[in-house]
């Protein structure tokens, strides 16, 4: 026993090293698990306060851009609303029967206070949290397209897994043909994202629009992701290799909306009941 203790003491540096590295590795693996409430990230109160202060200083330099962006969005929304009203009026569909279907999605507007695009695993921090009803697993969109999913929340802040994260997968479809696949980032170019699992018989064209499919109840159906830029089909591959140019420039993200899907619980529990718990 004494010799064992002596041995450990002799190599105490090495054992401390092992211990610390194991601790780090454990944290790394834990952190990679999907969607959870975590304390040690940028939704942490102190960390979030520091970065939001720094962000508000930075914002003075981009106020003009943000302002015009918001004004444009307002105009576009107003136009859309007016069009919708006209259509509803002419079809006499003003009273839609089921209010739960109509109010399927709520939107929570939030400001981006931290963002990165050059790492392999990029995250975005926003200034809305539990207090506003944000929960892990919700979708985040901007007026130009899909942005990501909420990973963890604190009282007033939340961390979002960006689409530019090699771990993030979003079910999506080609709008013209209706075939669905999965978009996932490959980690290199922050303007391009891969669309996978589009089978050989489909004929995707450069310029086709890719939107979310709405299959997993996280994203609403038909949120813009981007436009196909490169189509490649190798000799023996079962699927196309498609490069999609993102409609949202992630380097310029300033305001986003968190999508609260009111029927998500219902859809998920029904699916779990029939199919079993997904892996």
């Amino acid at each position: 026993m004494e010799r064992l203790l002596k041995f450990i003491f002799e190599y105490r540096a090495f054992f401390t090293f092992l211990l610390l590295e194991l601790l780090c590795a454990w944290m790394l693996i834990e952190n990679n698990q999907y969607q959870s409430t975590r304390y040690f990230n940028t939704s942490n109160k102190l960390a979030a306060n520091i970065i939001s202060t720094s962000q508000s200083i930075k914002e003075y330099f981009s106020l003009r851009d943000i302002n015009s962006e918001l004004a444009n969005e307002n105009a576009a929304l107003r136009k859309k609303l007016e069009q919708r009203n006209q259509i509803l009026y002419s079809l006499e569909l003003n009273q839609i029967k089921d209010p739960t279907i109509v109010n399927r999605f709520d939107f929570i507007s939030a400001k981006v206070i931290n963002n990165s695009t050059q790492l392999y695993k990029n995250f975005i921090t926003i200034n809305r949290g539990k207090a506003y009803g944000v929960e892990p697993g919700m979708a985040v969109i901007s007026n130009e397209g899909a942005v990501g999913k909420v990973k963890s929340v604190s009282e007033h802040y939340s961390v979002i897994i960006s689409l530019l994260n090699i771990d993030d997968q979003v079910s999506s479809k080609i709008k013209r043909t209706g075939h669905f696949g999965t978009v996932q980032w490959d980690g290199s170019d922050s303007k391009l994202i891969d669309l996978k699992y589009i089978p050989r018989h489909v004929m995707p064209l450069v310029g086709d629009t890719v939107v979310t499919s709405g299959f997993n109840a996280v994203f609403p159906d038909g949120i813009m992701i981007g436009i196909i830029k490169k189509v490649k089909l190798s000799e023996e591959a079962p699927f196309y290799q498609l490069k999609v140019e993102l409609s949202q420039d992630f380097g310029k993200l300033s305001f986003v909306e968190v999508v609260k899907s009111n029927l998500k619980v219902e859809q998920d529990s029904l699916e779990v009941k029939t199919k079993g718990i997904p892996k």
């Binding site: 540096a13 590295e21 601790l23 780090c24 952190n31 990230n41 520091i50 961390v159 090699i166």
Partner: protein, 171 residues
């Protein structure tokens, strides 16, 4: 010239804040990162204990990780640097050994020694950091490009800071 523990304590926060508020936003050509905080571990006095180095590395890495939303990643690589540093220092000892009170800095040991000392350590740090982040070797060459460009960027900034510090001390 040994900096007191208190100065090191403040330096810890300065390195962390500069990294998180300033250098996090500075990325050249989409590949070159400036991970200046490694310099904190590199520039601790030569006789600093191995255990202390690793502990400091862990705490600094952990702090950086909170702001990068990458829990464990920076801490992992920095603990490794803290562990390797003293062995590397012992390997490249000049024949006469280090004088007591010498710091592993450019002003005390000259440019050539400093490059030999810092390049492998920064490389080890960047290598583990980027490959652990990429979770494997599937993007080997792109990750290597990131490592090399980041190494050059970080090294340049470290050297510039060393020369600025050199000037101040001579005055």
């Amino acid at each position: 010239m040994i900096r007191s523990g208190l100065v090191q304590f403040f330096l810890f926060f300065i390195y962390a804040l500069v990294q998180v508020l300033l250098l996090k936003n500075v990325v050249l050509f989409n590949t070159a990162f400036c991970l200046l905080y490694v310099a904190f571990i590199l520039l601790l006095p030569i006789e600093t204990n191995n255990l202390l180095l690793m502990l400091a590395g862990f705490l600094l890495g952990f702090t950086i990780d909170i702001f990068y939303d990458s829990l464990g990643l920076h801490a992992f690589s920095l603990v490794l640097v803290g562990y390797v540093r003293n062995f590397w220092l012992a390997t490249i000892t000049p024949q006469s050994g280090y004088d007591s009170g010498v710091e592993p800095t450019l002003s005390d040991n000259g440019l050539q020694w400093f490059l030999v000392y810092s390049i492998p350590l920064i490389f080890i740090h960047h290598f583990t950091l980027f490959f652990v982040e990429a979770a494997g070797f599937s993007m080997f060459w792109f990750t290597m490009l990131k490592i090399i460009t980041s190494l050059l960027f970080t090294l340049t900034v470290v050297l510039i800071l060393q020369y600025v510090g050199l000037d101040r001390r001579r005055r």
